[in-house]
């Protein structure tokens, strides 16, 4: 037993020793990105890795949750938020550099492909008996959706129809794609090829719609490749974002 423990310790020490011989430049960065960026950023990260050689580790979630994790000390090097609100929070504590807006997004109404409740317009979301799923308040798309319902003048009726407040936008997509809910409000970029067959899409009139602005920044003190990734998103990454349906910043 003792021998084995000693061996383990020796192995760990020698592993450390090997590590210290290598140059200080990190070989990977960690990017925290809004759930709505899942597909686009997975692609952009792969492209960036191919070009830069730096490995990109991605963590997707609701922007508010990611901001909290960063403030609690999660090892993020880059933060891409679906709302300026949560970037503001991270900018204040622990601080960011190279902040800029990199994309905009619009909201749509989704239904299951067979549209069991016959939802054809935003106004239908206020009809009694509709099972509506939104993202929770505080989650950017949840706040945007509530703003949209207010613009359409049906906030009270529609909010009375909400049966679940999902943790992030992908949760809304799932509940609707599975056919458990009659309708949901998500970003138009969330109707990806993977789920398009399960969903019906209803466009929101421009007068009611809400424009989501996406800021990105490197965390203060993040290594060089983090700032390189931010630059990449603002440059070559734009094509991927455009293909995914995001609007230019």
């Amino acid at each position: 037993m003792k021998v084995r423990a000693a061996f383990l310790v020796a192995a760990m020490l020698s592993a450390n020793a090997c590590g210290s011989d290598e140059p200080a430049a990190p070989d990977s960065i960690t990017v925290f990105a809004a759930a709505s960026l899942t597909e686009a950023f997975t692609q952009i990260a792969a492209d960036f890795e191919g070009q830069d050689g730096t490995k990109v580790r991605l963590s997707f979630g609701p922007s508010d949750g990611l901001a909290t994790q960063i403030q609690e000390g999660a090892p993020a090097d880059v933060f891409a938020s679906a709302s300026p609100k949560w970037m503001d929070a991270v900018a204040e504590d622990p601080g960011v550099v190279d902040r800029s807006d990199f994309a905009r997004n619009l909201l749509i109404v989704i239904t299951p492909a067979d549209n069991p409740a016959g939802v054809d317009s935003v106004d239908d979301l206020g009809r009694p008996g509709i099972k509506l799923v939104l993202a929770a308040e505080g989650v950017p798309v949840g706040d945007y959706a509530r703003e949209l319902l207010g613009n359409a003048g049906i906030a009270d009726e529609a909010l009375a129809n909400v049966v679940s407040n999902e943790d992030d936008v992908k949760g809304v997509v799932q509940k609707v794609a599975l056919g458990e809910a009659d309708a949901g409000i998500v970003y138009r970029t969330d109707v990806t090829t993977a789920v398009a067959g399960d969903l019906g899409v209803i466009d929101v009139p421009d007068s009611d719609n809400v424009v989501a602005v996406y800021p990105i920044a490197a965390l203060a003190g993040a290594p060089g490749p983090a700032r390189g990734f931010v630059t990449y998103v603002l440059g070559p990454g734009q094509t991927v974002l455009r293909d995914a349906g995001f609007l230019p910043p």
């Binding site: 508010d64 509940k175 458990e180």
Partner: protein, 252 residues
């Protein structure tokens, strides 16, 4: 040995200490009487008690069946009965959706009799029951193993029917184990998160139990999350102290 034991105790104690250290105590009163906390506690109470009742309903017969009879495939049934203990709860939630969801195997028939589970408190209770009923099965089986079968034989020799023996001898003798199993099932149901949020969704006053409220609060108000977490810590600790190690048979 003692050093490792201290380490073990610290392993549990430190996260609790962390919660205590981080909690915004000056907001305690406000947070404990907030809608989130009160509604969460109410839903949690209904859901966990409902789940315990459901667990008893299906767990006791299954435990008796597995503990007292032998039939082909018993090993498989036993493994199935314990599956929810090891299954990731989110998987349980997906399974429940595919069985009882609107488009699930039993979704149509269930709706026909007016029973809708997704997004309802009943659905949250079903999700919690699914992950907690194995505790009852285990408790009944363990109880049967340590049961003095001579008491049942005596009753039978005096002319009692099998059903009568079960009701008047076996079940009363098993009562302490069943009670302990029920309390553990209740505690497990109280902490249920993954299956609930997947199957029943998250809506305050309807399906948002305390763990779901904690998770939602954590996204934007970590302080509130710590206070709500401590409520759950106190509640769970209370249950375990009340149980006094009964489940592992070291009552003190």
């Amino acid at each position: 040995m003692i050093a490792l034991a201290v380490l073990g105790a610290a392993f549990v104690l430190l996260p609790v200490a962390g919660l205590l250290a981080r909690a915004p105590w000056e907001r305690t009163g406000e947070l404990l009487t907030s809608d989130v906390a009160l509604e969460g506690a109410r839903v949690s109470l209904i859901v966990s008690l409902g789940a315990a009742a459901l667990s008893l309903l299906v767990g006791v017969p299954l435990g008796l069946l597995l503990g007292r009879t032998s039939f082909p495939g018993r090993t498989v049934v036993r493994a199935l009965a314990l599956l929810p203990l090891v299954l990731p709860p989110v998987v349980a939630g997906i399974g429940l959706l595919t069985a009882f969801g609107r488009r699930g195997l039993l979704g149509g028939p269930a709706r026909a009799i007016g029973l809708e589970l997704p997004f309802t408190t009943a659905g949250a209770a079903v999700a919690a029951a699914f992950v907690s009923f194995p505790f009852i099965v285990l408790a009944v089986e363990a109880g049967l193993r340590s049961l003095d079968t001579r008491l049942e034989d005596a009753a039978a020799s005096l002319g009692a029917s099998k059903w009568y023996v079960l009701r008047k001898v076996t079940l009363p003798l098993l009562a302490p184990q069943i009670a302990a199993g029920a309390v553990l099932a209740w505690a497990r149901a109280l902490g249920e998160f993954g299956a609930t949020i997947t199957f029943a969704g998250n809506f305050r006053g309807e399906t948002q139990t305390m763990p779901l409220a904690v998770f939602e609060a954590l996204q934007s108000d970590p302080g509130a999350a710590t206070i709500l977490s401590l409520v759950l810590v106190v509640l769970s600790l209370g249950v375990l102290i009340a149980l006094r190690g009964r489940f592992v048979g070291v009552g003190s």
